[in-house]
Every structure is written in C-alpha cells, then in structure tokens.
C-alpha cells in the first residue's frame, strides 16, 4: 500500500457541486505533495466523457479540468468496470490524454486497501 488516501467520484459532473469539490480536494492535496489515488464509480463515470457543454449553464468544463490531473501528479485513474457496463459505456470512449485508465473489477476490494477514503 503505497498510497493512503483514495478519492471516489460518484456523482454526475454538473448535477451538484460534488464533482467539482472532489476535484478541488484532489488538486489541493496534490499541491501539498499528498497526491491521492482516484476512483470513478457510479454516475461519476459520466465525468470522464468528452462532449460536455457546460457553457450553457455558465460552468467551467469539468472534463477539461480533469485533464490537468497528470500535471498535478495523478497519472493513473481507477474506473469501476461494473459502473461502465450498467451504463452502456465502452472504456475506449473515455479518453483522457496523458492518463492511464485502469478498470477495477472489484471496486470494494480496491477501496478496502486504503486507510482514508474521501467520497464525493
């Protein structure tokens, strides 16, 4: 266990402010040299889809913001495989440049490896 903290993104990108709050938490931690691991599951997998058009609701693009993660030291993200399957999303449609995407077969087992878990 090299990392002690996992941040989980569970919500759709714009339905609430949780997706953005979670990202801010990751970026703040990374800036303090405490880069956490991240897992996208549930509706959180929608955050990884391109083609977001948040200008119409006067929001910044969360998808663009997420692409900055490698700059902050997060180069690999975990994605719950089952969450993708039940939503009919193919892994290949989730292209985030510069980031390695790892499908988690068993999200529960993954989560249990961490001492601290932040859920957004």
């Amino acid at each position: 266990m090299s990392q002690v903290t996992l941040v989980i993104f569970r919500r759709s990108p714009y339905g609430s402010s949780l997706a953005r709050e979670g990202l801010e938490a990751v970026l703040a931690a990374a800036a303090m040299d405490q880069t956490p691991d991240v897992l996208f599951m549930g509706d959180g997998v929608f955050q990884l889809m391109s083609g977001q058009a948040p200008q119409q609701i006067e929001q910044k693009s969360l998808y663009r913001n997420l692409q900055a993660l490698p700059m902050f030291g997060v180069e690999r993200i975990h994605v719950c495989r089952q969450s993708l399957e039940v939503r009919g999303i193919h892994k290949d449609t989730l292209a985030l440049p510069g980031m390695e995407l790892e499908l988690a077969r068993d999200a529960g087992a993954l989560i249990s490896r961490y001492r601290h878990v932040l859920s957004f």
Partner: protein
Amino acid sequence: MSKSITIEGREIPLDKEGYLRNLDDWSPAVAEYMATSEDIDLTEAHWEVLRLLQDFYRQFELSPAMRPLVKYVGQQLGADKGRSIYLMQLFPPSPARVASKIAGLPKPTNCL
C-alpha cells in the same frame, strides 16, 4: 470591496486581491501594470512563462499551483527552466500566485 485600474483609457475592475475580474480585460499593458505592482520588470523570459500560463488556462480552464506549473514549464520549455528556483527568480515570492495575476488568470484555487 471593489477597485479598478484605468489602462489605455479602459476602466478595468479588479478583485480585492488585485486579480482581474474579467479575464477578457487582459492585455500586455495590463500585464505591465500588474508586474509593476509586484516590483517585477518583465523580460522575454517572463513573457515566455506568462504565455505558457495562458496556454495552460486555455487547455485546462484552471490556474496551476506551483507543482503543476513547474511540470508544465519543464515539458514545454525544457528541464532547465522547469525548476522552481528558475520560476522563483522570475516571479518572487510565489510564482504560481504572482505569475497568474500578471497573466490575467484567476488566483490558483488550490493555492492555499
């Protein structure tokens, strides 16, 4: 609290920490003004980093904190410039904060 500056005949609103309220208000003259208020004389080395910061913002829609800034500069301008000491010399005392301001970007949100 609101303040504003007048540059090239335009009144430009700033927030209470001196950052632009509207990113579209930025111009090189605004950068010169911001730099002067931070006691910095802008040279080509400064402009190079400022342009890069603006690229970063266009790409990711956020202002980088120190670590990502160092990494991005290293990727784009080479390893000898992608070091915090280099950026510290250009934009003391806090490169991410000071350079974002001069480049007309919002304060880095994760700049604690």
